[in-house]
Symmetry: C2
Subunit: 196 residues, 2 copies
């Protein structure tokens, strides 16, 4: 690195540091696009796994205690419905933002503002995804363990496949949240590197 | 880009650009500290309201159907325990980061790196707070409405004060999340304004 900067000689002030090479900025946008493609994949698979979680189990229906087939679907819980809606929004956003990132990589004029807007939007989507994962996780935990204090019985002993789908979907939403945090860090560090 | 860099003349390099006016940066740190004081207040009150939510209600205990006093406490739900832990972490973080912001306002050397670190840390704390609010909200919604599909009965008809405390605490955690989003936007816009 030192060999590229010439030594100041004869009292002449050193030249100002060169602007960051455009290759580096393009490289940052490339990482950005790669992360957004991963975000797209994780949110899409998360939604698909949740939507296909329907399972039919035999439940003793209270009045007569006769086993009857009862469905478990994600639409039975408002938290899981919100989860599907939020992850779908994040999935759509990943497509739009990846396109925006690709366009910004092509035009060299508006890099800084693009990074700023990415931080704003990624933060909002992160909040939506994490809130959805939290609420779905809270409800899924009751389904898994039950709650003896409130008399809420666990259901995962009957609906095993349903619960496995929910667990897989939650894991993928966690991956999506981590990718969004990395995206925010990448954009903010890109802004920072343009200053120093 | 080229027009902003003056042409070097007579072999002497141009003087470096003047640093950004410290008044504007100090003002930004002042807003930052004000937001962090609000964050401290909202997270502290949220934790206090949740911790003091204990209520005793008369419940028909199943075998004999005799009304007996039964407590409702936040420690009965893992989601609410996580909520208190997460909001306590955010409360502690608001104190430390307000002090860091105050120190950064005093020393004019490391502004850019401080803003970058604030974005990183605020994003992580935002994720923790929103996940806690989501999981507590998901569980509280079951307590409020019940779920007929899984046979989970609502409890807020018995434990009204308990549920009011949880609702108030959730509202304050939502305020804390909004404040954290504003803090991230302020820090990233400060970085951006140092470039342009």
């Amino acid at each position: 690195m030192e060999s590229t900067v010439p030594e100041p000689e004869k009292g002449v002030a050193p030249p100002p540091p060169p602007p960051p090479p455009p290759k580096s900025v393009a490289e940052r946008f490339l990482y950005d696009i790669i992360l957004r493609v991963w975000l797209f994949a994780s949110t899409l698979v998360s939604v698909l796994v949740m939507v296909t979680s329907k399972q039919t189990g035999l439940i003793l229906v209270p009045p007569l205690q006769i086993p009857q087939p009862v469905d478990a679907k994600f639409t039975h819980s408002p938290a899981l419905v919100y989860f599907v809606a939020a992850l779908s929004v994040a999935c759509l956003y990943s497509i739009i933002s990846a396109l925006a990132s690709f366009l910004a990589m092509s035009s060299p004029r508006h890099h800084t503002k693009t990074f700023l807007h990415f931080i704003f939007m990624d933060t909002l989507i992160l909040a939506i995804v994490v809130a959805a994962a939290g609420s779905a996780g809270g409800v899924a935990y009751i389904g898994l363990k039950g709650n003896s204090h409130t008399g809420w019985a666990k259901i995962c002993n009957v609906y095993d496949t349903f619960c496995e789908h929910i667990a897989g979907s939650l894991g993928l939403s966690l991956l999506a949240a981590i990718l969004l945090i990395f995206l925010i860090m990448l954009s903010s560090h890109s802004l920072y590197s343009l200053i120093s």
